[in-house]
Amino acid sequence: MNSSIVFQTGLYLLILAALAWPLSRYLASLLDGSLAARHGWIGQVDRAVCRLLGTDAEEDMSWWRYAMALLLFHVAGTVFVYALQRLQGVLPLNPQQLGAISPDSSFNTAISFLTNTNWQGYAGESTMSNLTQMLALAVQNFVSAATGIAVVCALIRGFVRRKASGVGNAWLDLHRATTWLLLPLSIVLALALVSQGVIQNFKPNQTAQLTEAVVYQQPKTGADGQPLKDAKGNPVLETVKASTQTLPMGPVASQEAIKMLGTNGGGFFNANSAHPYENPTPLANFLQMLAIFLIPAALVFMFGRWVGDWRQGATIIAAMTLLFVAMVGVEYWAESHANPLLVQLGMDGHAGNLEGKETRFGLAASALFTVITTAASCGAVNTMHDSLMPLGGLVPMWLMKLGEVVFGGVGAGLYGMLIYAILAVFLSGLMIGRTPEYLGKKIDAFEMKMVAFAILATPMLVLGGTALSVMLDVGKAGMANPGAHGFSEVLYAFTSAANNNGSAFAGLSANTPYYNLMLAIAMWVGRFTVIVPVLAIAGRLASKPRLAVTAGTLPTHGPLFTALLIGTVVIVGALTYIPALALGPIVEHLQLFGEVAR
């Protein structure tokens, strides 16, 4: 294997661990309330904010109230984000005079940013005013990440508390995660990105004179906005000569920081982190990658601290890291082989597959970014995923299908992994002759019911949504590529939406009423059919006594459990999705390389 990818991955993991470990300490004290107890002024701010939200900071909510508070918050947020997009034409901070966004796209985007998905059916620079970007999208980037943290806090409290009736205060958790964690970190990261050349201004778009005019052909569109076709059905092309270039402007750095830290992924520009104003240098790229995993990793370490046994956290981190490294390996291996059809035509294939990649990042940093952004529920891209090799596209798709539990989204990755841990404990607990328990809490029928909901929801959405779309004409209309790759595009879209990732095989034209609606449903259901069961589990676990650990207890730390956890994640992920993947990326790969061999 190329030394560059080994070095970059190694350095990345090393720095990540060095940052996440101390951050976990801060997180634990912040979220269990000991920080506020130590520093009176923090407590005062907490109480003041809660009063402002009309709640009592001391209130300990039952899981049901906690879930209702989050749902209420999200419904209100959806209405707000939707309204702002529809009204942006008459609101300030709109230097490009952009008009109202269509109802279906507004709805899709509202759900998308509420659910931490940041699926973007639109192109940011030509659609969203600065006000919408900042007040609607960026605000949701903060609070949707805080929601993940709040939910995982409630779940950890479920493990830690004994015979308790509540799982914490949703408003207080949301506020603490936003104010004391995401805001300060975002400010630091935004400044670091500005130092690398990420722009931050309120200027209208700039026009630059090209030193050399560019001539190119593009499909001609008719009056209805659809591409014109000639008698044979081929698109009519027109020749265009461009002598100027439009440079979009805006408050990018401040959006960019939380986009990464909150594993949101919604880019200011359509090209996302491949755009030079979002992600100008290899160092900026490295910082962005670090920012994606930073909080998810710190939360896992925090989990270990909070339950009083750092090894519990370390075991989960180990499972995540091993899966991550394996996936980076496969991704890099797949991408380092150029398209054999192009090689046949005489292209030098030694550089690997560079289609859709930025040369300032190169193969290794692109492969690494691709795995990181889909392992987490980020969905920012510095590479066009549609241009990945078939197996190179399978890796991000499968990472999302696993439920984004390899570090995963902020909070969401950990609670997703803990769901798998409960599943692993259930089977292995039985195999040692005891009814299953995890961290001293018995896993009974109620917990299994909730685990079943959480694990069932996404496959239903992904497979059901894809099945419907490949049957319907409105679904097939969006595919840019016929055949297996078209199938992969739709599969990727539903995978990304249901798992709240937000990245895309951009070949699919998804900004249509059908896809906007279907994907919005997938995002909303995918988010809350996991969050509500997780909170239910938290509530039930909190009410149980904590059992003692004896020599007969299944150890949930150490290499054996790491292997077990990986096995559970991989087997569940594989068994659910192998047939679909076989008809998409796997057959694409076999076709591509099989044909050349023949």
């Binding site: 299994m448 079943a452 694990i455 055949g483 297996a484 207890t553």
Partner: protein, 709 residues
């Protein structure tokens, strides 16, 4: 399995009725109880309809293939039914033996709790709780009950297999009476404590009949998981049809996957192995309990037995053999060992306790002292006030009858020999102006430190010495405890002895901890303390004063010989009244859970190979490149799919013995046990079907069956 109660696994007497029962269980109402197998049942019906359609010439696939798959799907359902029926049959055979004692008998119902009250003769089935009945010599006890009046010897061999009759009387710890036993002598007035069908035995019998058996909490949780897996695979298979239609259109080759193949894939993927065997495992667990002569009142209790962290074991009978026995005479200075032995024997002649008898025996063995007739002797029984027993040999005549007892003044010839605990004797001799010497105190302490019980013998004001009573620790018990420790189970010995004695016995037996000078309330406190620390506690008990502790414990085994109160408080009854049984109960509980876990893991791991068989077979017509996934190089798509279905059915049959006997239990630490079982059932579960499917495919290929399809 040499025990007469154990029938061979596929014994003809069990297998034939089980086959019939398996067919009867094909009704949808019976299948509905088991969601996983219900899906298979629906699949079987569906493929049968498709088969008929194909035979009429409108088939979506070759009729031969559809019928073959349909037939094997029906076999899958039948095999699962058979496993369940077989387990039930074994349980019922055992229950029948017990139920034989439950024949309706004539009951003599009393109008009031007195022997002389008016008697109404009726059938035992019409007795209700709190009815009063009279049972006389030769009568069979009509129902479980509590003795209110009378004393009688009762033959309980029908229940326990123990032929020696036992005494039952009102009050105290011997007042419980089990229905079906026979009164041999005298009479009893009994209050019925259970309605018909609610007695322990009835509840146990119900639990080996699956239809009446309530699912245990863990079974419910596991079923939820299995249903979730089934639903997942249902979505996976259902979505394959549109995927396939799209792919055919996109590739312009092949035909969409047939419903038959999708049903075959679905049945192969859903966890039929565990789904088909789950109830058999539960029933078999209950019947293993019954084989151990333990009656559990709920499956929940059997499950909890697997979770136990702490075992509270009574010293007497569990850790040590019955009672203490005299082991040595340690004379006081100036007294010979024989003198001491002689006095001790005299004091014990009338003492019918096992300890007393063992003193007489030891004196006889060591010095050939025989019990002799005593005239004019007054035996002083043990009382709680004096805490001593002994004998007064009074008068001249009595003294003259003795030989060589010249040292004793004739006038004071009355010998007053006492034996008892050191403190009691000390009080006794000091009151008479005697001295309790340091040497004797030393001997007492030494004996206590050795784990023995020191009994001091005194004559008048003079201390003669110490009799050492020793507890005999049961052979092999130490290794048993070491095994328990490895399993992570802590053993605590409960004893009324003092700390010193208890510590010595605890060390000898190898228990982890002990509770000395234990009173019932101490037991209760200890259980609560462990439960508060998050541990599950198991204990045995027989007395009424054990009832609170039994009710508190998570797994409470009451001795059948115990009181009704103890039996009501416990959640299991040991018919053999053998306190060591607790260890066996824990093992049976663990075994049942392990079998469930192992088969679930095996079942899910199997799916990997089935994908490799069916996916290329189903889709290679559309995308020929997918043949690369056919790593087993199966003969044809038709044989590949059929092989997977056949394997899926046969594996249920192959695993019936494992489900009924349970995964072999080894006393190992949790991590070692898990690693071993993961390797066998997880990794094994991935590999076995590759071999199995390949072999079946080769067989199908060799017969030429389905050729050209």
């Amino acid at each position: 399995m040499s025990h007469s109660k154990n029938l061979a696994l596929f014994d003809r007497t069990l297998a034939v009725p089980a086959l019939v029962e398996a067919l009867r269980k094909l009704s949808p109402t019976a299948q509905w109880r088991n969601p996983v197998m219900f899906v298979v049942w629906v699949g079987s019906v569906l493929t049968t309809v498709l088969g008929v359609q194909a035979s009429l010439g409108h088939g979506e696939a070759p009729a031969g293939l559809i019928w073959s798959i349909s037939a094997w799907l029906w076999f899958t359902v039948l095999f699962a039914n058979f496993a369940e029926a077989l387990a039930e049959g074994r349980g019922k055979a055992q229950a029948a033996a017990l139920r034989a004692t439950r024949k309706n008998v004539v009951a003599k119902k009393l109008a009031s709790p007195s022997r002389t009250a008016k008697v109404q003769v009726l059938d035992s089935a019409s007795l209700r709780k709190d009815d009063l009945v009279l049972v006389e010599a030769g009568d069979i006890v009509p129902a479980d009950g509590e003795v209110l009046d009378g004393v009688a010897s009762v033959d309980e061999s029908a229940i326990t297999g123990e032929s020696a009759p036992v005494i039952r009387e009102s009050g105290g710890d011997f007042s419980a009476l089990t229905g079906g036993t026979r009164v041999l002598s005298d009479w009893l007035v009994v209050r019925v404590t259970a309605n018909p069908g609610e007695a322990f035995l009835d509840r146990m019998i119900a639990m080996v009949e699956n239809a009446k058996r309530k699912k245990t909490p863990n079974e419910v949780a596991l079923t939820i998981l299995l249903v979730a897996l089934t639903l997942t695979f249902l979505v996976v298979c259902a979505s394959l049809l549109p995927f396939s239609i799209y792919s055919v259109a996109a590739a312009g080759a092949g035909a969409p996957v047939s419903i038959t193949v999708l049903v075959a894939l679905l049945v192969c993927l859903i966890p039929t192995t565990i789904g088909g065997l789950l109830s058999a495992i539960g029933v078999a667990g209950m019947s293993r309990m019954m084989q151990a002569n333990v009656i559990a009142t709920s499956g929940r209790a059997v499950e909890a037995a697997g979770d136990v962290d702490v075992l509270l074991l009574d010293k007497t009978g569990t850790i040590t053999l019955g009672n203490r026995q005299a082991a040595a005479f340690i004379p006081a200075p100036g007294i010979s060992e024989q003198q001491l032995a002689d006095a001790a024997q005299l004091a014990s002649l009338a003492d019918e306790t096992p300890e007393g008898r063992s003193i007489v025996v030891l004196a006889k063995q060591l010095f050939d002292l025989r019990s002799r007739p005593l005239h004019d002797a007054v035996f002083i029984p043990f009382t709680a006030q004096t805490r001593m027993s002994g004998v007064d040999i009074g008068g001249v005549a009595a003294a003259m009858a003795e030989e060589g007892d010249v040292a004793v003044d004739i006038k004071a010839a009355t010998r007053q020999i006492r034996k008892g605990a050191a403190s009691a004797i000390k009080q006794y001799v000091v009151a008479q102006g005697g001295v309790f010497s340091d040497a004797v105190t030393q001997s007492v302490d030494d004996a206590a430190r050795r784990g023995s019980t020191p009994l001091v013998v005194a004559e008048g004001a003079r201390v003669l010495g110490v009799v050492e009573l020793k507890d005999i620790v049961k052979g092999g018990i130490k290794t048993r405890f070491a095994e328990l420790r490895q399993m992570g189970i802590k053993t605590i010995m409960i004893t009324g002895d003092n700390r010193l004695t208890a510590a010595a016995i605890a060390a000898e037996a190898g228990v982890d901890d002990f509770l000395a000078e234990a009173r019932p309330e101490d037991k209760l406190a200890l259980i609560r303390e462990h439960q508060h620390a998050g541990r599950l506690v198991a204990m045995t008990g027989d007395g009424t004063n054990d009832a609170p502790a039994l009710a508190q414990a998570d797994v409470a085994v009451a001795m059948n010989s115990g009181t009704q109160a103890a039996k009501e408080a416990g959640n299991m009854v040991d018919l053999d009244s053998n306190p060591t049984k607790l260890i066996e109960i824990v093992e049976i509980g663990k075994q049942m859970l392990m079998t469930r876990g192992a088969l679930t893991t095996f079942s899910v791991a199997n799916d990997v190979a089935k994908y490799f068989a069916i996916i290329p077979a189903a889709f290679a017509v559309t995308y020929p490149q997918l043949k690369a996934l056919d790593v087993m190089h199966l003969t044809s798509p038709a044989t590949a799919i059929l092989s997977a279905v056949i394997f899926n059915a046969l594996i249920i049959m192959a695993l019936i013995p494992l489900a009924l006997k349970g995964v072999r239990y080894r006393a190992l630490g949790a991590a070692t046990l898990l690693r071993r079982n993961l390797l066998v059932y997880g990794v094994g579960g991935i590999l076995v079907p590759f071999v199995g499917i390949k072999l079946i495919d080769m067989a199908l290929g060799a017969t030429g069956w389905l050729q050209g399809i």
